[in-house]
């Protein structure tokens, strides 16, 4: 894979350059260095991975409508191996040809791409088509092979790849005049569920899902967005269950200029929500009950430069219990001085996890989080500082925290914008955590971009 990725990227770089005018290349090179202080691990090891992220957009390939988009990364450890799997790694995140028509937002993609349409949030090697239709309708369809990632756990890799042989999905959307959009979508991942195989298997990695999504603003001060996902596979059904994998909705209310309220509601049924997981031991379909959450936040733009958000969210995981997270965030934007800063504090009041052994009957998951950060720019120079402090209430009894209740992290960065296309920055981070004890990490980042098709967000 890695080899092919690099060859593909190189080939396009060369041929892309030959197309001349309308090629943009963006690259981020990151060199890191850290030593680790995890109890039980080699303390003499020094990790120095170098990582390259490379993206290429080649537009107007012969015709205005045709373009090529590639993005991938590669990592090499210059010293000790920093991640499981080897001293080098890489991946082609996406690589597709796109034909964009000049009406109806119609487009066709072929290659490797990510799709976000209704229930389909997939990485696919295949084809994709979208178009607006008359009278407010629009339609999407995609088909191909799902991108299957190698999993190092004890899940049989061959059955993941074998079951997930092809994927297909579609969405039909309808736009209501001055209201918004509603949609209905379907996704199928894999043709043969585990139980239909010649020799039936126990782990099923296939999915068949139906989804409904909406985003509506019935009047100028209220909007509703959300979706419901149904499992429509022939997988066995739990008693009294509705086959609803997920309902996730948010309602926004504009109370007055500068003051908005958002309420949210989430309901997930493990049996259906976790379908197709490649980590079934962690995301366990057989966990009893459901996950539910209700939340709300109030956003107040006090003065033009200052935004305050108060939020609270109460979650419930049936098998364990409830947790309430509440807190405040403030964000201050002094655009004229090129300064952006924020502070936040959250407290989480959570359930106890029962019995580890007879000496530690239970431990609490309650904790608090405080954070402050600032970013500033002066001419070509920039700097930022980010400080986080966590306080774990159950540290003395939680076997995962090794008795330490405070975790602190500090990340500082300085940057220099050499010219429009080149930026160099260096980060220094320091963490004192229950798990790692003390860890310092240095990082140098070189961002390079060349070309004209600069995107607003990136």
């Amino acid at each position: 894979m890695k080899h092919r990725t690099h060859v593909a990227l190189l080939a396009v770089l060369v041929s892309g350059a030959a197309w001349g005018q309308d090629v943009s290349v963006y690259s981020t090179t990151i060199a890191q260095m850290w030593k680790s202080d995890i109890p039980g691990f080699d303390k003499t090891a020094t990790y120095t991975p170098a990582t390259e992220f490379l993206g290429i957009d080649a537009n107007k390939l012969g015709t205005d409508a045709l373009s090529l988009h590639l993005y991938g990364w590669g990592r090499t450890d210059l010293k000790d191996q920093s991640a499981i799997g080897g001293k080098t790694a890489g991946d082609l995140t996406y690589g597709y040809l796109q034909y964009a028509f000049d009406r109806a937002n119609a487009q066709v993609k072929a290659g490797r791409f990510t799709i976000n349409q209704g229930v389909g949030n997939e990485m696919v090697d295949g084809v994709y088509a979208y178009t607006d239709l008359l009278d407010g309708w629009n339609v999407t369809a995609f088909a191909g092979k799902p991108v299957v990632y190698k999993n190092l756990g004890n899940v049989p890799q061959a059955s993941i790849s074998f079951q997930r042989d092809y994927t297909f999905g579609t969405r039909l959307g309808y736009r209501i005049k001055r209201m918004g959009e509603i949609g209905l979508s379907y996704l199928q991942d894999g043709s043969t569920p585990a139980m239909d195989l010649p020799i039936p298997e126990t782990l099923d990695f296939t999915r068949r899902q139906l989804g409904a999504d909406l985003s509506l603003a019935p009047c100028s001060f209220i909007d509703v967005t959300g979706r419901t996902v149904f499992d429509v596979s022939r997988r066995q059904q739990a008693e009294h269950s509705t086959r609803i994998a997920e309902s996730d909705y948010r309602v926004g209310v504009k109370i007055m200029d500068g003051l908005r309220f958002n309420g949210s509601f989430t309901d997930r049924d493990f049996l259906y929500y976790y379908t197709g997981s490649t980590l079934p031991n962690l995301f366990d379909m057989n966990e009893r009950g459901k996950f539910k959450a209700v939340g709300g936040n109030l956003t107040w733009t006090a003065v033009a430069n200052l935004q305050l958000v108060a939020d609270v969210r109460r979650t419930n995981r049936d098998e364990y219990g409830t947790a309430t997270r509440a807190g405040l965030d403030a964000r201050y934007n002094l655009a004229a001085q090129h300064v952006l800063a924020g502070v936040g504090y959250h407290k989480v009041n959570a359930f106890n996890v029962a019995l580890v052994d007879s000496t530690t009957p239970s431990h609490s998951l309650s904790h608090s989080e405080a954070r402050a950060w600032v970013m500033a720019e002066r001419g070509a120079f920039s700097a930022s500082l980010d400080a986080i402090r966590l306080h774990y209430s159950g540290a003395s009894t939680n076997p995962n925290l090794i008795g330490k209740s405070i975790e602190s992290q500090l990340v500082g960065s300085v940057g220099y914008q050499a010219n429009e296309g080149l930026k160099v920055s260096a980060d220094l981070s320091y963490a004192d955590t229950p798990l790692y004890k003390k860890q310092a990490m240095g990082l140098v980042r070189i961002e390079y971009r060349f070309g004209f098709a600069a995107k607003g967000g990136k």
Binding site: G55, A106, N116, R175, N281, R317, S413, Y436
Partner: protein, 155 residues
């Protein structure tokens, strides 16, 4: 298998052909947003006012990059990919949504504390608490992809 794939491709083609007659005649959105934006999260409605985003029947306010939008953008991303694409290359999304990534978004963007990260540095400790409180929130990104590293401990 390949027969099925062929069938899907054929019906897709057929659907596209018949669709030609009912395709909207409106011009496509600009492939890059015509106006260069300043740093930070854009508030669309500040520049655009209260009209609808072209043919989408949504107001610009629905896409204002507020704290709530940034935290919960899934429905808008799914319904308005053409609008998002005029400002965002897919690589922008891949920082947080890649199928296989090499470092946490907060490390890659360590010089951007203003960005909304799924989690911050040193998460290996904290995740044992947050994951326990709500594992379903992790499933979106780690359930079917980006979990090679997790399987070292979660076998």
């Amino acid at each position: 298998m390949s027969k099925k794939l062929l069938l899907v491709a054929a019906s897709l083609g057929l659907a596209l052909l018949t669709a030609c007659a009912i395709i909207s005649p409106e011009a496509s959105f600009a492939r890059t947003h015509p106006e260069k934006l300043g740093a930070g999260r854009p508030t669309c409605s500040e520049c655009h006012g209260t009209e609808a985003v072209k043919s989408t029947q949504k107001t610009f306010a629905a896409l204002d990059h507020t704290a709530a939008f940034v935290k919960d953008h899934k429905v808008q991303a799914s319904q308005d990919s053409a609008t998002c694409a005029s400002c965002h290359a897919q690589s922008f999304c891949s920082d947080c949504h890649g199928g296989k990534t090499v470092m946490t978004p907060s490390t890659k963007l360590g010089n951007r504390p203003d960005r909304e990260m799924p989690h911050r540095a040193g998460y290996l400790t904290m995740h044992r608490i947050e994951g326990k409180i709500d594992p379903t929130g992790c499933y979106k990104c780690h359930g079917r992809a980006n979990n090679e590293k997790c399987s070292a401990c979660h076998k």
